[in-house]
């Protein structure tokens, strides 16, 4: 029998994989990819809550749709910023982005 805990643990593991990549990668695009993994893990949580905690009320799925909308905006703007940085620096290595150092 698959219970709510299975889905929550799966999404927790997926979130942690994404967070690990976001914290440890050098390439800015890889960090964006890992943030997408984290947002997807949150969506699994929302949909699992809809099925197990509030069946008949689809508010969780509506929220998942809004998360998907915001994630699509985030990836578009994030990639645009990375492309602008690449044009300026010819590199997307986040350890080289040090404009705030003096």
């Amino acid at each position: 029998m698959i219970t709510l805990n299975h889905y929550l643990l799966l999404s927790a593991i997926l979130f942690c994989i994404g967070l690990y990549g976001a914290l440890s990668k050098k390439n800015a695009i890889a960090i964006l990819i890992c943030i997408e993994l984290m947002l997807n893990a949150v969506n699994i949580n929302l949909v699992a809550f809809t099925k197990f905690l509030t069946p008949g009320d689809l508010t969780g799925q509506i929220f998942a749709i809004f998360v998907i909308v915001v994630a699509a905006c985030e990836i578009a703007v994030g990639l645009a910023i990375i492309i602008a940085i690449y044009r300026d620096r010819s590199s997307v290595d986040v350890e080289n982005l040090d404009w705030l150092k003096w």
Binding site: I2, L10, L14, E36, L37, I44, A72
Partner: protein, 169 residues
């Protein structure tokens, strides 16, 4: 063993395996391809959760649009020598991050298992697409319109930021 139990474990295995591949492959194109597999696996999880509309949205938006956007981004950003090997390597916080994430996962799973969830008893919605449409155009009509404005603003902003600069410096 019932069919949906087998389906859950199979999809969970594929999803987590490809998510690990996203993080641990060192060629960023391979990471992006593994990411598409992860998105498809999550769409399969939505199907096991009776969320057929969200599964379709997941395939369209993530496995379709977002992954194409990422692949295009990778195409536009090449290194000087043009090789793709070692484009997705770890930085200097590899081990620190691993320790932090292990602790975080421990805390998360502890609270997931300890929390007494109040299971709902109502019947599952049979027609999710119709019910979502009704909710979106009644209770959530203002967030829905705001999401549309946010998408427009983000797309225009992305074009403005990424556009070629006419007179640099």
């Amino acid at each position: 063993m019932e069919l949906h139990v087998i389906a859950f474990w199979l999809i969970a295995f594929v999803t987590l395996g490809s998510a690990l591949a996203v993080v641990f492959l060192t060629n960023i194109v391979h990471s992006a391809l593994a990411l598409i597999l992860t998105f498809l696996g999550i769409a399969g999880l939505y199907l096991t959760l009776n969320a057929d509309f969200l599964a379709a949205v997941q395939v369209l938006v993530y496995a379709g649009a977002v992954s194409i956007l990422i692949v295009f981004g990778i195409m536009l950003i090449t290194r000087g020598d043009g090789r793709m090997a070692d484009t997705n390597i770890f930085g200097k916080y590899k081990y620190t991050a691993a320790i932090v994430i292990t602790a975080f996962l421990g805390v998360l799973s502890h609270y997931i298992i300890k929390t007494p969830w109040q299971m709902g008893t109502a019947a599952l919605s049979e027609n999710t697409m119709g019910d979502i449409a009704e909710l979106l155009f009644s209770d959530y009509v203002i967030p829905f319109e705001l999401a549309a404005i946010l998408l427009t603003v983000a797309m225009v902003g992305a074009i403005v930021i990424a556009r070629e600069v006419k007179n640099p410096k």
